[in-house]
Symmetry: C2
Subunit: 442 residues, 2 copies
């Protein structure tokens, strides 16, 4: 086994850093052209080998990770963030399993999406092709490094990884191993590159490398995502900010509504598909609220309620402020309001929702129809928890993120969402009839 | 018939103009929510009536257009641009026919794209929904006003039209008529709005109205498109810049290659799918070049050739400069080079192409396979003219533009490309198993 030297960052700044990022993108572009031609067999074998190698070389990864964790502790990082940063043998094995899962998924590249023979005899078909060079900007979790590399490589793309400086040693060790395996398989090592992370400017250089980078996907908190999306001149996909609602309709089965609300809120409050607000129809509020408040209290949830919710009592119920309707808590907090009607619930969601996941609990067919038609979100649930919005749950095998925008992909993004398309037209000397040569401008 | 007053621009500037544009977007958003629920029947009837009304009120439109044309002449506009601006009874009828065509196309909204029952019994399906509010930024042609309105309304979207100030009277007359018909059909008039065009700042306000506008599509020259795409914080779709190539392979049938080159170049040089460069394999150059140069000369085309092309002679052959390989002439000019191999042609296209349409003329199966696999463009033609890249030719019925980017849509964009998707999940009290409530950050 040859260990390939991974270029160490020389802490460049200013124009030099910009040129480093652009040069990485150019090398990524070359690698992407080669990778686009790789067969599914070659890509699957690559991912399997990457998984094996990660497990084999886990000690290297853990040693690098210990340095990051020690530095993080010294800098006073919170325990929650340190937990996200920390790796263990089990977590490295989970990354390897992720690669094996992706290896087993169908290859989207080459899939024929539609096609026909045109009236003139030209054979036309639209096929999936890789996007090219994909930039991923993310925060402390080192597992994103491996997940993102697996998904982008499988879909025939080159990836530029821009992780957090707090995980620099871990990410460098991981990428070193992955590149090593890529090279051993005779594929271009620059299909996986880690960008310098010592200076925030490298993010800016990445997201403005229009023409060199085909898409940027930010993964992290709301601040990171909106900064990337707003400053990017490279097409960006907005992911993962979820101000999700559970609406309990007048006709709801109260037991079912309680179960769905509790699961949506408290199953894993730190993830984007967890509920942040519940709305309850006035006709059922008197029956529903006391039980909901009690059960949420038992689960440790603080309720930020409007006047009528506060009126229903409970020591863990506090008055909601205007901000509570818009905030993504990601914690054991929930905003709650009583609404007069289903249209009022839809209106509240239209005003405050982030277009991620919205749920209705109802027994009324027409209410379900209205809610699903009128609520504009990536996913709308009827009598099911908001927690189901997830690539794994949707049967995609793995996801690179959950898009909350409307272009290109909406909801969980799996391998097909990491591709573009190309039209192929086969003729036999076909030309398009029409005017004789005409002057420009006509 | 009630004539609805169309709000006249009061030539606002600065913050006031910004607020005007944002208020239009907000009204568009309200209208879009209503329009998203309109049935295909309602939308088709609307478009049919718009067509009839345009023909009936053509004199109003022509009168307004005469004012624009007179002002344009006075300002010294070129005849080519005046021709683009000018309307006639025939051109108004053509717009009406366009609306009737779109009326007859299938409605993309509601189409089920995929679906399954999850292992837990939840019924999942992905359906097409309108994008919401679509902004169109365009230049002098008033027919874009009607075409864009027809396509966006049919796909359930509201449209904000930002046309050229040179066409202000024509566009106002057209939009007045369209809004009038929308109102008569009981639909929200603000589904079609014309933005102020007296100040370039209105474009800026439109393309930065993130959260209010869902997508911006620029239609026009390369300068307009790149300005919109680079400055936009609203997702934008890059359209229509075409530096298209015809590659004549060593194995090409020379007669076929000449026919395809002439058609690709000279059929309509002012449109984006026309060829701007041809590349010829060295092995066939001696046979092909003299005939190609002669035929291009007869068609009035100036050839900007590399050394070997210039060496083949002809009074209309001039030496190519470095810029010639990258320019979109949109005129009776073509760049030409001899290449040593198919990979050299692919490399030239990778360096200079704009990702629109690339063609190979070949009799060799493997050459066709290599070219289609390795050339990265919206459309790749084998033995067919570049002129076929067109929504009408591809059987889409109508197009809003030709996307040259890789996200969301690539190539001609018809009605489905003006939609997003939504996941619907129907359960019966389903919750997601998993950990007991965990602390945030874990």
């Amino acid at each position: 086994m040859t260990v390939i030297e991974f270029p160490t960052s020389d802490k460049a700044t200013g124009d030099e850093l910009r040129e480093q990022v652009r040069e990485a993108a150019r090398r990524g572009r070359e690698a992407a052209a080669e990778l686009a031609q790789a067969t599914r067999g070659a890509k699957d074998a690559l991912l399997q080998d990457m998984a094996d190698e990660l497990v084999k070389r886990a000690p290297e990864v853990l040693e690098a990770n210990e340095q990051d964790v020690a530095a993080a502790r010294e800098s006073g990082m919170t325990e929650a963030l340190i937990d996200r940063l920390s790796l263990s043998t089990g977590r490295v094995e989970a990354m390897a399993d992720g690669l094996r899962t992706v290896s087993g998924l169908p290859d989207p590249v080459g899939e024929v999406l539609r096609g026909q023979v045109l009236p003139n005899g030209v054979q036309l078909r639209q096929v999936r092709v890789p996007l090219g060079v994909v930039g991923i900007v993310y925060e402390g979790r080192p597992n994103v490094t491996v997940d993102a590399a697996g998904l982008t490589l499988k879909s025939g793309n080159a990836v530029l990884l821009r992780g957090s400086s707090s995980a620099e040693n871990s990410n460098t060790a991981l990428v070193w191993i992955l590149r090593d395996v890529v090279a051993r398989h005779g594929l271009p090592m620059d299909a996986v590159q880690l960008l310098p992370c010592h200076d925030r400017a490298s993010v800016h250089h990445l997201i403005t490398a229009r023409g060199l980078v085909d898409v940027v996907i930010p993964r992290g908190g709301a601040g990171l995502i909106s900064a990337v999306v707003e400053q990017s001149t490279v097409p960006a996909i907005e992911t993962g900010v979820g101000n999700c609602h559970v609406y309990v309709d007048a006709s709801a089965d109260v037991d079912m509504a309680l179960r769905i609300l509790l699961n949506s809120k408290a199953r894993r409050p730190s993830v984007c598909n967890s509920a942040e607000t519940f709305l309850v129809h006035a006709d059922i509020a008197e029956e529903f609220l006391p039980r909901a408040i009690a059960e949420l209290g038992e689960a440790g949830v603080t309720v930020h309620g409007d006047e009528r919710v506060v009126g229903a009592g409970g020591s863990h119920v506090v008055p909601a402020t205007d901000e509570d309707w818009d905030v993504e808590y990601l914690s054991l907090d929930v905003a709650a309001a009583v609404v007069e009607s289903l249209p009022a619930a839809v209106e509240h969601i239209r005003e405050h929702g982030s277009g991620h996941t919205e749920a209705i609990v109802t027994s009324d067919f027409r209410a379900a129809q209205q809610f699903t038609a009128q609520v504009d979100a990536a996913a709308v649930m009827v009598n099911a928890s908001t927690a189901f919005t997830d690539g794994g749950e949707f049967g995609m095998g793995a996801e690179i993120g959950i898009s909350t925008q409307k272009l290109h992909a909406r909801g969980p993004m799996g391998l097909p969402e990491l591709t573009s398309t190309k039209w192929l037209a086969y003729g036999d000397g076909h030309v398009r009839p029409g005017s004789a040569p005409v002057k420009p401008g006509s």
